[in-house]
């Protein structure tokens, strides 16, 4: 990435004796979609609040667009849009009035403000309810109105906290589409989520949080290779003699496992679907099913912590 717009170094947050975020370091490049993933209470939101200067930093340092959020929060907040977890609006005001209020807080000129509000509401598909009171809005519409606020701000960075939680699948897809569009405009996106598979499709890189630490960081493929041992998992239902050995002979196949009679699971460094099909066919076997599992964050995460837990037990036993 060309330049880092968010840099965190040894970021730590303590509440009394409890350490919620423990010395995490990461950086986000310009135009990247970076995901902070992990279970609830892992420290994602606290990290975000520290980056925005909304929560004090106990130790370590943060730089957002080259500014220190502790000393210069106004500059940071002027250029960063934030969509909080389960965002709220003033129910007695209309969608446009809510945006108008925050627009005034951003110190936008009247004509510019009205233009931006109209454009932003149209982008998120809320233009027809602009004058309706927010009290009547669904969860998905509120999330979209929150995104409209970020669009209105024309911010360089959009920080989204759990943008898809509590949304139905259709609303999730629409929201992710808007986030993708943000990236196309050169906006850097930092988003947090506990729904791993939903967001893996749009994140360039992810950091997996666990207990205040970053357990894993990198692209989804990298993490898959690192944790699952291979980038690709192929499942094949085949009948024939000695299929397992023949499949194992395919170049770049790391392991073959017979999950149940007639079903094989292969781990490979590359896409070996064609080779599997050819091998089964040439050995006179019958292939009834063939599919490839892209590495899923869910399995990476589960695998990683399973291994961690086992290591822990082993150590205790020793």
């Amino acid at each position: 990435m060309s330049e880092d717009v968010i840099v965190a170094q040894g970021l730590t947050k303590r509440y009394g004796p409890a350490t919620v975020v423990n010395g995490i370091s990461f950086s986000v490049g310009k135009g990247e979609i970076f995901g902070l993933l992990g279970p609830n209470g892992a420290g994602k939101t606290t990290t975000i609040l520290m980056l925005l200067g909304l929560s004090e930093i106990s130790a370590g340092q943060a730089r957002v667009l080259g500014h220190d959020p502790v000393r210069d929060p106004l500059t940071v907040k002027r250029r960063v849009g934030y969509l909080p977890d389960a965002v709220g609006f003033y129910d007695n005001l209309s969608a446009a009035e809510n945006l108008r209020f925050t627009g005034r807080l951003m110190d936008l000129e009247h004509s510019d403000r009205e233009q931006r509000i109209a454009a932003a509401l149209e982008r998120v598909g809320l233009q027809h309810v602009a004058e309706k009171r927010v009290a009547t809005f669904s969860r998905g519409m509120r999330q979209r109105l929150g995104l409209a606020e970020i669009l209105m701000k024309k911010s360089d960075i959009a920080i989204l906290d759990e943008p898809t939680s509590g949304l139905d699948p259709q609303a999730t897809i629409e929201l992710l589409e808007i986030i993708r569009n943000l990236k196309q405009e050169g906006v850097t996106v930092l988003l947090s989520s506990h729904l791993l598979d939903r967001v893996q499709s749009i994140c360039d890189r992810v950091a997996l949080f666990h207990d205040g630490h970053i357990a894993l960081m990198g692209t989804v493929e990298e993490l898959g290779r690192q944790i699952l041992g291979a980038g690709f998992a192929v499942v094949a239902d085949a009948k024939g003699d000695g299929i397992a050995a023949k499949l194992h002979a395919i170049p770049d196949v790391l392991s073959v496992e017979e999950v149940k009679p007639g079903r094989y699971r292969l781990l490979a460094d590359r896409d070996v679907l064609a080779d599997v099909a050819a091998t089964v066919a040439s050995s006179g076997g019958r292939l009834t099913h063939l599919s490839i599992d892209a590495p899923s964050l869910e399995s990476i995460y589960a695998n990683y912590f399973q291994r961690k837990a086992q290591d822990g037990e082993g150590r205790h036993a020793a």
Binding site: L49, L54, L74, Y82, G88, F89, T102
Partner: protein, 312 residues
């Protein structure tokens, strides 16, 4: 470490929005109707009373505020009772409602400091109260003109205007207290109950309790010390301070707010009114006390709010 930028940035926007909210809220309308109706009732009773006893009084107009006729209490005692209610009504959910509506983090993510939010809310509340009180004051003066048919003198207007200003500060104490509770308690209902409880305690119970405490802890052989001690304790309540200021300002014959020694009465003309500046001098400590407690309570709220986590 110094932070960059002005803490006042955005205050005007917040004030404007809060003012709009207050003015259009049903709560405010109910409070206004309550205040106006009770004020009219007590005023009407006072005017009847004044008409019956057409004594030669140089401060006839001020009697409008202070005269009571059973069973109606006087206009000022009504205000002393209703102004805190109004202030608490405006302040008890000022901050916690932002958390409950989940708008707090969204607003604070805009380029403003928390200071602006708190200042804006307090100033907007005080402005709302001032506007209502000003309307009420004009109503009283107007009705007095119509029904008494006597124009008020310059000093009467000055005294009643000062009374109006003091009432705003009195409202400020309760507004600051209500906002403090709204910062401390996340539930608006709890905040309202606690503030109302504190109000009842300081207004009704504390003045009755103060003499008892003074008697219990001060040497009984010196009754003057006990009386003065009891008064000092009672003055911890803003309601007592307000009552004393009103007494000094609206009753020009008031010569002191404490006990009088016989030596001080030598050569005094009983019942002769004091000039305004002298009356101000008598009430000055109480006025300062009222302003100081407003500031003190607001600062406590400010500190608590600054240290609070944004997350609901």
């Amino acid at each position: 470490m110094r932070r960059e930028g002005s803490p006042w940035l955005g205050t005007k926007v917040i004030i404007y929005k809060e003012l709009c909210d207050h003015m259009s809220s049903a709560r405010m309308r109910v409070l206004e109707i309550l205040v106006v109706l009770t004020a009219l009732a007590s005023l009407y009773a006072a005017i009847q009373q004044i008409k019956n006893v057409t004594a030669e009084d140089p401060f006839l107009f001020l009697r409008l505020f202070t005269t009571s006729q059973d069973p109606m209490p006087s206009f000022v005692s009504f205000l002393g009772f209703l102004v805190p209610l109004m202030a608490i009504g405006l302040g008890f959910d000022a901050v916690n409602s932002e958390y409950n509506r989940r708008t707090m983090s969204r607003i604070l993510a805009q380029p403003i400091y928390r200071d602006a939010l708190l200042f804006g809310k307090f100033i907007a509340g005080l402005l709302t109260l001032s506007i209502s009180l000003l309307a009420l004051w004009l109503l009283v003066i107007g009705l007095g003109l119509l029904m008494l048919g006597v124009p008020p003198g310059g000093e009467e207007i000055a005294r009643s205007l000062l009374f109006f200003v003091v009432t705003i500060f009195y409202a400020g104490v309760w507004l600051a207290l209500a906002m403090l509770c709204s910062i401390i308690f996340r539930s608006a209902a709890t905040a309202a109950l606690v503030t109302l409880g504190l109000w009842l305690f300081t207004t009704v119970i504390w003045p009755a309790l103060a003499p008892a405490i003074a008697q219990a802890f001060l040497p009984p052989d010196d009754p003057a010390t006990v009386v003065i001690g009891a008064q000092m304790l009672a003055r911890l309540s803003p309601s007592t301070l307000f009552g004393e200021i009103v007494l000094a300002l609206l009753n020009p014959a008031t010569r002191t707010l404490g006990p009088i020694y016989l030596s001080q009465l030598q050569g005094a003309v009983m019942g002769a009114p004091l000039p305004l500046s002298e009356s101000m001098l008598i009430a000055w400590p109480q006025i300062v006390g009222l302003i100081a407690s407003t500031i003190l309570i607001f600062v406590i709220g400010y500190v608590v709010f600054q240290r609070q986590e944004v997350r609901a």
